[in-house]
């Protein structure tokens, strides 16, 4: 009888271990079906960088993915990295949490079956503004996704009417941190602004992307997101207006 109390639990544990190992193996080593969208997500204090290596462009904070068909799944595979401290990619309706760890490459995948906007949040405490390190996943039809991709691949819009704003942007410290493709601004510390106006939010989901918010954000980032790493540049109101006008054209 005593032997049975030892042997039976051991067998139960062994069986459960094998069952779990099988499922883990199936998840971890699953082959990516053809048509998988590859995205590299890089966590920053306190925003998200999304690179699309197959499509050769970079965006931020709003991840667009094509909707997947259960019969012919076209999931999105995410390679997760961090530029500074630990973060965690968490979009509750699409997948569990996966950490972004400096000096380590993690991965996860999502396979959304319906279109819409899914909100997420950094889920590993990463510093002062961890709370407003939000992200949005836009799941859209293949046509809309392709349209969005081809827009993202374009160089930044240029309009003579906002040349002054562009000049301010390129002659001040803005370009140290931000990239606007097709201009001198090639910074990588902050989000890519090439197609800023294609995003619905500013400051990693902290505010709606409106002219007033953008103006306030440039004038005093701490008013929207206290403790964020973007400094207030102490520009004159004229310069801020000009830069805002310029950024408003970056569709």
């Amino acid at each position: 009888v005593e032997l049975a109390w030892t042997v039976i639990p051991v067998l139960i544990v062994v069986v459960l271990f094998l069952a779990a190992a099988r499922v883990i193996h199936a998840i971890e080593d699953a082959k990516m079906p053809p048509g998988t969208t590859q995205v590299v997500a890089v966590g920053h204090q306190f925003w998200w960088e999304f690179r699309y290596p197959d499509h050769r462009f970079v965006t931020a904070n709003e991840l667009h993915v094509p909707v997947s068909d259960p019969q012919h799944p076209t999931p999105t595979h995410l390679t997760l990295m961090s530029a500074d401290v630990d973060h965690s990619f968490w979009v509750p309706k699409l997948a569990g949490k996966t950490d972004l760890i400096p000096n380590r490459v993690n991965s996860t995948w999502i396979d959304p079956h319906e279109t819409g906007v899914f909100v997420g949040q950094c889920a590993q405490y990463c510093g002062t503004q961890h709370a407003k390190m939000l992200l949005r996943v836009v799941v859209e039809s293949r046509e809309d996704f392709d349209k969005w991709v081809s827009n993202e691949q374009r160089l930044a819009a240029e309009a003579d009417s906002v040349a002054q704003g562009r000049r301010v942007f390129e002659s001040t410290a803005c370009l140290n941190c931000h990239t606007i493709s097709g201009t001198n601004a090639r910074g990588t510390f902050g989000p890519d602004l090439t197609h800023l106006m294609s995003r619905a939010t500013l400051a990693s989901g902290a505010a709606a992307n409106t002219r007033e918010n953008l103006h306030l954000w440039i004038k005093d980032p701490d008013a929207i997101k206290p403790g964020c790493l973007m400094p207030a540049m102490q520009m004159s109101d004229q310069e801020i207006d000009a830069v805002t006008d310029y950024l408003m054209t970056l569709h």
């Binding site: 890089v42 500074d84 401290v85 000096n103 405490y125 510093g127 709370a131 990588t188």
Partner: protein, 210 residues
């Protein structure tokens, strides 16, 4: 000279009730005690004190969270509060109370006269008290000499590299990982040492290059 009469009479005996000793002596007796029962009660009292402090911190956090976009405390303060709350509740409340019960009961249960090394036992309690005081001093002293305050704000789990100087400005974090060192139980929390190893490779590469 004794006579039969005086022998048969009882001598004057003072009443049995103890004379209350002066307050100073009583406090002194508690401070220098090596008695496991007294130390056990002191641990429990200490744990309850920090339970209240941690509870106050939790209340402040809940007020902040009561409505969305509340501005009751700043993000920095909120981060300090949950870090201090977690640290306090685990190291100063829960552990101290468990310790107190064990120190009080264990010698009684095994029939020993006291703990082994009673002075070490007393030393352990006073080092715990020192740790708690130093940690709470960081609220006023953590930011430097300006009295601006700067309690640790990296979460009680204190994951590197957030704890490293590159990301944790000020020295609130030093309080967080040094307060544990005087405690006799610091070996149960090896992860507080990660910030120290993080100092050594503070200039680790970042994954910027595209």
């Amino acid at each position: 000279m004794l006579d039969a009469d005086s022998i048969s009479k009882p001598m004057f005996v003072p009443p049995a009730e103890a004379v209350a000793r002066p307050l100073f002596d009583r406090v002194h007796a508690w401070i220098v005690t090596v008695d496991h029962k007294k130390l056990g009660l002191m641990y429990i009292g200490y744990g309850i004190l920090f339970l209240v402090i941690g509870g106050v911190e939790a209340t402040v956090m809940l007020i902040q969270l009561a409505i969305p976009h509340n501005h009751f405390v700043s993000p920095e303060t909120f981060n300090q509060l949950f870090t201090m709350h977690g640290t306090t509740m685990i190291f100063f409340a829960a552990m101290a109370i468990v310790f107190g019960v064990a120190v009080y009961l264990l010698p009684l249960m095994i029939g020993a006269r006291d703990m082994a090394f009673p002075r070490l036992n007393a030393w352990g309690f006073w080092m715990s008290a020192l740790g708690g005081i130093i940690l709470y001093f960081s609220f006023v002293g953590g930011g430097g000499l300006y009295g601006a305050g700067g309690a640790p704000d990296v979460g009680w789990f204190a994951y590197a590299p957030l704890t490293s100087p590159a990301f944790s400005v000020g020295h609130g974090q030093y309080y967080h990982h040094h307060f544990v060192l005087p405690l006799p139980r610091h070996d149960v929390e090896p992860d507080t040492d990660t910030s120290e190893s993080a100092h050594e490779d503070a200039d680790y590469p970042v994954v910027r290059a595209a």
